[in-house]
């Protein structure tokens, strides 16, 4: 607007030049400049006013929509895809018979349940569809559908309270328990492509993912403390599995503090009490520790460890088994990350090996926040194959990709 005025006045002065003498022109020009300045001032004032009006009135200008149009109520929809190429020193038919001595058994009559990266060669692991929506003033709803090439699975589907007082929140439905540090975390957010060995040994490929209710409480303290209670059906048949009635009860306490401005400590302790498939008591205890140091906005060092201990009653007495993992992940910048992990099952039942362990190393490249390529090497000394329990060391190299697209919420710490 102002610019146009200046141009016009210049043009006007140009025509004037031809006709009049210099003094007259100068006077004219001064007048024009004065007028332009006045205009500029007015424009500035108007602009200021406009900004103030925006501040004072809530925005009311909305595009008119069709009658009964419900588009704005559509849930957030995210799609997560995951696949890999795998090289392994063991062929596919042998690999399918793998089990962990003392923890799991090979049953030739049952199809093996290997959730991810089963094949030497190419694997398409899953397409996951995640929906999130607010139901009303009182509840939010979430559903995660896990679609693998020959299976449709409701991974999670639950509602969460929005308005409970005193720092309380309830969850109802089918969901991943927040037992331990990583049970609730989905595969696409894991730091390594494979699940920690102790989780696989004690809770199987699925972890504790069950129907039930959860209540969490943020304690009114200056230091972050959260206590949670869950009552679940108990359908995880690796450690529990007696579902004659709801049998699984879980409790945990998690706390976090900043050691320095940039160093964060998170620790937790969990217990799960339920009944195993034979109807006897099983207790699972977990303790975890995470320390993260931010080096700058895009670089950090993360150390995470977790120990699980299981006390399982049987006909003939008590089976005590335990294992842990410890991992160190270094994020170099926005694009690159690398990490190592050591897994060990150091306590086993009598006459079963207690030297089961695994080494994992990975390099991750993220060209964009929601696109991930990961190269992972695994050396695994925890597996036996076939019905004669032949132990073999497994070497595996894996190149995987994971993308998150659509409206996917940010991950918690």
């Amino acid at each position: 607007m102002t610019k146009k005025m200046i141009f016009l006045s210049l043009a006007a002065s140009a025509t004037l030049f031809a006709q009049s003498d210099l003094a007259q022109l100068k006077a004219q020009l001064a007048k024009q400049i004065h007028a332009t300045q006045a205009l500029q001032k007015r424009v500035e004032e108007l602009e200021k006013k406009q900004i103030e009006t925006v501040a004072n009135t809530n925005k009311t200008t909305q595009a008119p929509s069709a009658t009964f149009d419900q588009k704005s109520f559509l849930p957030d929809i995210a799609l997560i895809l995951d696949g890999s190429a795998v090289g392994r020193n063991i062929d596919n038919s042998t690999y399918e018979t793998y089990h962990i001595p003392g923890f799991s058994e090979y049953d030739p009559n049952e199809e093996s349940e290997i959730p991810f990266n089963r094949n030497r060669g190419f694997n398409f692991n899953y397409a996951e569809l995640a929906l999130h929506s607010t139901v009303g003033p009182y509840f939010d709803a979430d559903a995660i559908f896990h679609l693998s090439p020959d299976e449709f699975e409701i991974e999670e589907a639950y509602i969460t309270s929005r308005t409970f007082p005193y720092g309380l929140r309830a969850k109802i439905g089918k969901f991943r328990s927040e037992f331990g540090r990583i049970n609730a975390i989905h595969q696409h957010a894991w730091k390594f492509t494979s699940k920690p060995l102790v989780y696989e040994a004690l809770l199987g490929g699925e972890g504790i993912n069950d129907a039930g209710v959860q209540l969490q409480w943020v304690l009114p303290t200056d230091t972050y403390m959260m206590a949670g209670l869950e009552a679940l059906q108990g359908s995880n048949d690796v450690s529990f599995g007696d579902t004659e009635k709801n049998n699984l009860y879980i409790g945990y306490l998690k706390g976090s503090m900043d050691i320095t401005d940039t160093t964060i400590l998170l620790a937790g302790t969990s217990i799960a009490h339920g009944k195993n498939e034979d109807g006897h008591d099983t207790n699972l205890y977990g303790t975890d520790l995470t320390i993260k140091t931010a080096l700058d906005s895009y670089s950090n060092l993360l150390w995470q460890s977790e120990l699980l201990y299981r006390d399982k009653k049987t006909e003939n007495g008590t089976e005590k088994q335990a294992g842990y993992y410890t991992q160190l992940v270094y994020q170099y910048d926005q694009n690159w990350k690398t990490g190592i992990r050591y897994d060990s099952l150091f306590k086993n039942i009598s006459d079963q090996p207690d030297d089961l362990d695994r080494y994992t190393a990975m390099v991750e490249y993220k060209p964009f926040e929601f696109t991930k390529f990961r190269l992972q090497y695994t050396y695994d000394r925890s597996k036996a194959f076939g019905s004669n329990d032949e132990r073999k060391n497994l070497s595996e190299i894996l190149l995987g990709f994971t993308v998150e697209t659509g409206a996917h919420g940010a991950h918690a710490f």
Binding site: K48, N58, P220, D258, I264, A294
Partner: protein, 293 residues
């Protein structure tokens, strides 16, 4: 059990004494403190030393949110990567998104750079518009007014005090803006490049031309191809100033500077992001000094 109860009562009594406000970024904390005065207790979540898009969602931030009566966010998508999981974990219905206690400062601003087409193919775009309006000090008063309005409604007992603080703040800020505008006039028409579209509000107001960015697309790290094209452009158009934020790597900017003879100027984006920017005035004084000298 009794103990827990007495702790509860004690805590609620403490909570009554002051109105608890949580602000996502330091500059918002300063504005709330200015209009809230002694009646509010302000806690800032993000450290100014970090990229405002990439704040670590530390669990230690949850207790403050859990106790907050009001939460002030920058909005326009700036906190999308870190605030929602904290809000969810805090279980505080008072400051849930969509309630009166959740205050989005961007609602007080006419946002610029609103993309006409939204796709992640264009990088980390903000569909709402450019969220970095705090680099222009003229946006402080509209935010202060908006926050006062919200404070007065949520804590009606102290309405008069908030209005009084606001009018004092406005006159203080008008005086500051007079000086600031004068300083900024010196660099009208200047041509600059910036790392990210972080200073657009400021540059636009003072007729400084932001010609290009060091990152090829928002949120994408610099590529050699883009950097070389940028060097050629700067040589051709004789652009001599590179505006660098305090938190990104400075290697690329220095490399470009060495090839073009341009000067790398680190411009703070928030209160406390570099030394001697501990107040709002000091922040903008540093910006003016570094940009226009």
């Amino acid at each position: 059990m009794k103990k827990t109860f007495s702790i509860f009562i004690l805590l609620s009594a403490m909570a009554f004494a002051q109105f608890n406000v949580v602000a996502s970024y330091p500059y918002l904390g300063k504005i709330v403190q200015a209009v809230g005065g002694d009646n509010v207790k302000v806690k800032v979540l993000a450290s100014p030393k970090f990229d405002p898009h990439f704040i670590i969602p530390k669990p230690s931030l949850i207790p403050a949110i859990a106790r907050a009566d009001m939460l002030v966010a920058n909005g326009a998508g700036l906190e999308i990567g870190w605030l929602p999981p904290l809000l969810k974990s805090a279980n505080n219905p008072k400051v849930r998104i969509g309630t009166e206690g959740f205050v989005d400062a961007s609602h007080a601003i006419a946002l610029i750079d609103k993309p006409t087409a939204v796709s992640r193919a264009y990088g980390d775009v903000h569909p709402e518009g450019n969220p970095h309006f705090d680099t222009d000090p003229h946006n402080i008063i509209p935010i202060a007014k908006y926050l006062t309005q919200k404070l007065s409604r949520l804590d009606a007992a102290h309405k008069a005090a908030y209005q009084h603080n606001l009018s004092q703040f406005i006159s203080r800020w008008h005086a500051f803006l007079n000086t600031f505008d004068r300083q900024m006039k010196a660099c009208k028409g200047k041509q600059v490049i910036q790392y990210h579209e972080l200073y657009n509000y400021l540059l636009k107001r003072y007729d400084i031309h932001a010609v290009a960015t060091i990152e090829p697309l928002p949120g994408i790290a610099p590529s050699s191809k883009h950097t070389l094209a940028l060097i050629q452009k700067m040589q051709k158009e004789k652009i001599k100033t590179i505006l660098q934020d305090p938190y990104h790597e400075k290697k690329t900017a220095r490399f470009i500077a060495s090839k073009t003879g341009a000067k790398v100027v680190v411009i703070p984006h928030d209160v406390g992001s570099i030394n001697d920017t501990e107040t709002l005035e000091a922040l903008y004084e540093t910006i003016a000094k570094r940009l226009c000298h």
